[in-house]
Amino acid sequence: MENNSKSKNRREFIQSGVRLSLALALGGVGGLALSKVIEDDWVWQIDPFECTQCGRCATDCVMSPSAVKCVHAYDLCGYCDLCGGYLKPDANALSTAAENQLCPTAAIERKFIEEPYFEYHIIEDLCIGCAKCVKGCTSFGNGSLHLQIIHDICLNCNECSIARVCPSDAIKRVPASEAYKVKGDFTNNPES
């Protein structure tokens, strides 16, 4: 019996020793990480100046349809009649018929303002984030249409599955307090 309790004591001693070291290790890892911790949370966002409109935003989000949508920076828009984001470049007749529209889901609404200007408005529910209009607007217009991750749809995945496949590395973690990179409010155009 005596022997038994001795070995039991020894076991308990080792146990608490290891427990202490584990606690210290845990504290160490926590402390080290804490030295770099940020109060803010991270969210994912697209840098519109780096995006090359590859189209993967529509296909690679874990949400279907994608949490990436086209947004319109109205300040930059020319309100053109012949909108490069709205009409197919080879549209033969100037008509807004469906076959001439660039957007596959007809998510862009065109509204007459005054001669000769038109406002273009994205219907968020229809947009699938395919970037076709963005490509058109960037190539032929002012680039006022661009993609953003819309945060009331985005699940804020631990790692954005589009970021992983974005060929231009345009999707990065940004602090939640500056969750958007809407053109105009934010500029880092290397050319300007």
């Binding site: 020319g78 699940l155 631990n158």
Partner: protein, 420 residues
């Protein structure tokens, strides 16, 4: 002649003005006369930070309650309803994200990448369950983990697996966590999140293959209880280390075991250790000799692991998109003419030189070289220790839960006839 001059002049004039405008805007914003009001660009805010802290609070509450139910009131009912709550809150409401298992990668990345600082919520989700486990056993797994909860609720008729199979499959989590840390540290991928089998079910939306994976885990889980927890979960490695040395782990019996054997089949996870039969131990001739032999083998296992890691680092590093692209362009230069390869075309259009790409890829591969060897050595150590453990006999007189493997689900307690 004059005409030509005129044309040239116009040409230059146009060119000049065009570049000027291009630097600002191709088409300047019009000045409206009709009193048009420009709409705002809609940018809905992300989830408020306060809500994230609320999640931490919920986690602490659930952890405390789970511990209370498992250790104090010894109530399976309590644990059960708690896991239903966890499944609804952390699973379906929070979409299985944020999660402690995935937080391993955030912690790793914050050490490996100087530009990444972990958010306080992620850090707390990583630390709190481990700290609780160090004192109370894996009560996190019992009631606070949504992945565990969804599997726990589908257990119908658990079968008992042979010991060797349990042990062998139990090595997978070690491999999984090694790879997860390796991929996170090299900034390649977050594989735990990507291959989380249940997140698609929580979100009710996922790629077809992931749904198949999740459903098959659940189907399998009807008979092999909690397959993800026991044979895959990378966090379980850390939890089980903590739990083995936990101070107040739950006990099957509230007082003293009377060896009635009623609880032997009560654990769906084969986590109850039976009393050791000393006669059998003596007869099997296991003992010091075998122990010494296995102990000597450990360094060899480690060396073998390092070797395998070294051999496989090239292969593993291909999971990194930069390394993959560099390899592809070197081994297969014609691909540059393939207009359908988006990655290649984007790279070519980006103006980045081949040298920069190769350099970056080499840096990453260097990290993989070191990382794979460490991971391999670690796996060797784990295998060696597991083998060594098979010949170590701890004297046991009673039926007790295996502290490392017990998920603190509290099922066994209902079988114990001993009154307090």
């Amino acid at each position: 002649m004059k005409k030509l001059k005129y044309i040239l002049f116009t040409f230059y004039f146009l060119l000049f003005t065009f570049t000027l405008i291009a630097q600002q805007q191709r088409f300047p914003k019009p000045e409206f006369e009709s009193g048009y009001e420009q709409p705002d660009t809609v940018t809905p805010e992300p989830r408020a930070l306060a809500l994230e802290y609320f999640d931490v609070l919920v986690l602490i509450l659930v952890l405390s309650l789970a511990t209370w139910f498992a250790l104090k009131t010894r109530s399976r009912q309590g644990v059960l309803w708690l896991s239903v709550f966890t499944l609804i809150y952390f699973g379906f409401y929070r979409n299985g994200c944020i999660c402690s298992i995935g937080a391993i990668q955030n912690v790793t990345l914050s050490f490996a990448d100087p530009t990444y600082a972990i958010s306080l919520t992620a850090l707390l989700f990583f630390i709190l369950p481990l700290a609780f486990t160090l004192f109370f056993g894996r009560t996190f797994c019992a009631g606070a983990c949504p992945l565990g909860a969804i599997q726990d609720l589908v257990i119908i008729k658990p079968i008992s697996l042979p010991k060797w199979l349990n042990k062998t499959l139990g090595l997978i989590p070690y491999l999984y966590i090694s790879l997860a840390v390796l991929f996170a540290a090299t900034g390649t991928d977050f594989i735990i999140c990507r291959y989380d089998p249940f997140v698609g079910i929580f979100r009710m939306d996922a790629k077809f293959l992931m749904v198949v994976l999740g459903v098959s885990f659940l189907l399998m889980g009807m008979f092999v209880a909690r397959p993800y927890c026991r044979f895959f979960c990378p966090y379980s490695v850390l939890l089980s280390w903590m739990s083995r040395f936990s101070k107040w782990h739950l006990t099957i019996t509230p007082a003293a075991c009377i060896q009635c054997k009623l609880c032997t089949n009560s654990c769906p996870f084969d986590a109850i250790d039976f009393p050791t039969n000393e006669k059998e131990v003596v007869k099997s001739g296991l003992g010091t000799k075998r122990f010494l032999a296995y102990a000597v083998l450990i360094p060899i296992w480690v060396a073998a692991g390092v070797f395998v890691g070294e051999r496989s680092h090239t292969f593993l590093s291909k999971a990194n998109p930069d390394v993959f692209l560099a390899e592809l362009l070197i081994s297969n230069p014609e691909i540059k003419n393939d207009p359908d390869n988006l990655d290649v075309q984007t790279f070519l259009a980006s103006g980045k030189t081949m040298e920069t790409l190769v350099q970056e890829a080499e840096v990453i591969r260097g990290k993989f070289y070191v990382g794979s060897m460490i991971a391999g050595g670690f796996m060797g150590l784990v295998i060696g220790m597991t083998l060594l453990n098979t010949v170590v006999f701890r004297k046991r007189q009673d039926y007790v839960p295996h502290k490392g493997n017990c998920l603190s689900c509290a099922r066994c307690m209902d079988y114990c006839p001993v009154e307090k």
